[in-house]
């Protein structure tokens, strides 16, 4: 079997032609109190009504700060967490309705690469075994010989050498381990890979190697990625489209190229302005939108628009009426009542940096 891209026979189109279609995905975790008698005390609304789709061969970036629900979204798409409600339609099959066996078969075509290259590889298995195991689980090749030669092909594909199959994970650097993780995910010829912060544990010079590898693999094999990360620079670089998440909700979805040129949601604007630019001349002139306070707890998220307590443009309506993610044209969607007004005003916040830093209304006395 060749390593190069080939039309997957079982690729059935989703309802709207997308490879992956996520509809109204919800994942709530129960919060319990008490040691002996566990009482239900509320819900962590980690993912709350999230919808998006991914085309074959496309990369959708999912960006947000810690606790925004991006990792839970990835896990729920993979069915590693059973969604509370909503649908995950992959290659035409609704994964949430499948039984375990059928789900496992469907999941062969979707794989995952994790953040921690030290924790996600079994230290007692040789690299060859690690890559071979998923093939055995899915009974992909008849003979051991075939599997072994396939393992070697894949090792070369991710930039390692054939001879390294006999070595163990601890003999490799962080970047090399992330290559092994990529090799393992490719072993079962997936059409879709969830990459959960795949480069954030790596040094910058190694990050670039892995980003380039993922892009190469996409070009050669046509895999689609859901690329989850907190680093806006990396996400923008690798993704075709970017979805910005805040407290369990998508607040903006747009083309990567228009992300910097035309951010519409106040949170996206703040995120972009917080990213330092490697140019002291630009840095000296830049005006930052400093958000007051911290991300609120997803146990009791703020009413209506969840961003309103930190938003410099917030008005009364934002506290009472939830803005829905709506198309603005050109595949750009935003969840904000006032995006037009904010754009017309030039995007300069009405609150100064110092006021924001001091905690906004909490310190207005």
């Amino acid at each position: 079997m060749s390593v190069e891209a080939q039309p997957a026979p079982e690729t059935a189109a989703g309802s709207n032609g997308a490879l992956l279609d996520v509809k109204h995905l919800v994942k709530h975790f129960p919060v319990t109190r008490g040691a002996l008698i566990r009482r239900h005390a509320g819900w962590v609304r980690a993912v709350d009504d999230v919808s998006f789709s991914i085309e074959a061969g496309e990369t959708l970036g999912l960006v947000g700060e810690s606790g925004c629900g991006k990792t839970t979204t990835g896990n729920a798409v993979m069915q590693l967490e059973v969604p509370t409600s909503g649908e995950v339609v992959f290659e035409g099959q609704n994964l949430t309705r499948l039984k375990t066996g059928a789900q496992r078969r469907a999941r062969r075509r979707m794989q995952m690469i994790f953040q921690d290259p030290y924790g996600s590889l079994n230290p007692r298995m040789s690299v060859g075994k690690i890559i071979e195991e998923p093939m055995m689980v899915h009974r992909l090749y008849e003979s051991r010989q075939d599997r072994r030669s396939r393992v070697q092909e894949i090792l070369e594909l991710v930039g390692l050498s054939r001879t390294q199959a006999a070595r163990y994970p601890h003999e490799f650097s962080g970047g090399q381990r992330q290559r092994i993780a990529a090799a393992r995910s490719l072993a079962v010829e997936p059409s879709f890979i969830v990459c959960d912060e795949p480069v954030s544990a790596l040094d910058v010079s190694i990050q670039a190697q892995i980003i380039n590898l993922l892009q190469d693999l996409q070009q050669r094999l046509g895999v689609a990625y859901l690329f989850i990360a907190h680093d806006l620079k990396v996400v923008r670089h690798i993704s075709h489209r970017v979805a910005v998440m805040y407290l369990g909700k998508l607040v903006e979805v747009t083309n990567s190229d228009t992300l910097y040129e035309r951010p519409l949601h106040p949170y996206t604007r703040a995120l972009l302005s917080a990213v330092p630019v490697a140019d002291p001349v630009i840095e000296a002139k830049r005006k930052r939108i400093i958000l007051p306070g911290d991300v609120p707890s997803p146990v009791n998220p703020p009413s209506a628009c969840r961003f309103h307590p930190r938003c410099p443009w917030a008005q009364e309506r934002c506290k009472t009426e939830e803005p829905l993610l709506t198309e603005t044209g050109d595949g750009h969607a935003v969840a904000c009542h006032f995006w037009r007004e904010i754009e017309d005003s030039g995007g300069v916040p009405p609150v100064t940096v110092t006021e924001a830093l001091r905690g906004g209304e909490a310190r207005s006395d």
Binding site: E65, S66, S173, G175, D203, V204, S205, I206, Q207, A208, Q209, I211, N212, Q215, H230, D231, L232, K233, V234, R236, H237, I238, S256, D257, Y260, A270, L271, L272, S273, A274, V275, P276, V277, A278, D279, P280, V281, I282, E283, A284, R286, R288, I290, L291, G293, D294, V295, V353, L357, R358, G359, A362, R363
Partner: protein, 331 residues
């Protein structure tokens, strides 16, 4: 502030660690100077010696495995390597203080944050209990923690990561130090919180006139915050320049490589990231020549012979390289 105007002069500092595998040469002779109120950025990847060199200034290199093997650290004209433990304790926290990457493990989990700030002001400033409490509240207010009267009683786990780091900063500035060393102060924080903390550090630096050494792996962070930058690789400073010059005319192949390896928020997405091949060298058996030579696109035979000196070879600032990356010719 000081007799000769220089606040800190680090000269040929080298730090090594004894391990079972051999001697790790973590810092291999670095030198720099800092005037009062200056801010210096030390940039490099993990294992380049940026943190260890700063721990040496604080007298915190773990003994007996680690030791400063040569060089001097002159702070206000006094060599900190000759100072005894008691005197060092007087300097540390009062004249030089430090904040670390992970605020949760730098704060004591069993005491309220207020009490931890009070401890340092009572020790160094001789305040009594109620004065110290008032000072703690004032400091928490300075670093922008809302409702500081309430927050002083909170334990570290009750604060968010950004709040914890601000509490650490409050503690660090409590005695108005002349020098603050910030070791990856925002790496564990989210980007919007990072912006808050960096803005706060810049404001405090202006108000208190303290010098700051910002240690980070992120070049872009240095661009907006520092006056001068030292780029480190394998325990050496490979380039040392005013911030504008470094970004306008980077001269060391490693600095160039770092800049091109990071995607930018404004850049052309269709361009491929240039990556630095291979990985950083093992600090136990460093090769004889330039430590960057095995990864360097400009490498010459001469590079393997010896480590080039850090000097200005017509680039306008000191660079530890014998090749001019603009032309590819030897200097």
């Amino acid at each position: 502030m000081t007799e000769n105007g220089t606040l800190l002069r680090v000269d040929d500092l080298a730090v090594e660690f004894d391990t079972d595998e051999g001697v790790v040469h973590a810092v291999n002779g670095i030198s720099y100077e800092l005037n009062p109120g200056d801010s210096l950025g030390i940039v490099g990847e993990s294992g380049c010696g940026k943190s260890v060199s700063s721990l040496a200034i604080m007298g915190l290199v773990a003994r007996p495995a680690g030791k400063v093997s040569r060089g001097s650290i002159e702070f206000r004209g006094q060599n900190l390597l000759d100072v005894d433990a008691d005197a060092m304790r007087q300097i540390r926290g009062k004249q030089i203080s430090m904040i670390f990457q992970d605020p949760m493990s730098s704060l004591n989990p069993v005491f309220p944050v207020g009490r931890q700030i009070e401890e340092s002001v009572r020790l160094h400033l001789g305040l009594d209990k109620s004065q110290a409490r008032a000072k703690a509240v004032e400091l928490l207010d300075t670093v922008g923690i809302p409702a500081p009267e309430e927050r002083v009683k909170d334990y570290p786990h009750q604060l968010s990561g950004g709040m914890q780091q601000r509490a650490m900063i409050a503690m660090a500035i409590s005695c108005q130090p002349d020098l603050l060393i910030a070791d990856e102060p925002t790496t564990a924080l989210d980007v919007t919180i990072q912006a808050q903390v960096i803005e706060l550090l810049a404001e405090l630096r202006r108000e208190l006139g303290m010098a700051v050494i910002l240690i980070t792996h992120e070049l872009a962070l240095v661009a907006g915050f520092c006056d001068r930058v030292a780029v480190m690789y394998a325990g050496f400073i490979v380039e040392y320049a005013p911030v504008h010059e470094l970004f306008a005319r980077p001269q060391h192949p490693y600095t160039l490589g770092l800049m091109q390896a990071v995607p930018t928020i404004t850049g052309d997405r269709s361009e491929k990231l240039s990556n630095i091949p291979g990985s950083p060298p093992d600090l136990i058996g460093l090769p004889q020549g330039c430590p960057y030579a095995p990864r360097c696109p400009f490498v010459r035979d001469a590079c393997h012979a010896m480590v080039p000196a850090l000097e200005d070879r017509g680039a306008g600032h000191p660079v530890r390289c014998i090749v001019d990356p603009a032309t590819g010719a030897m200097r």
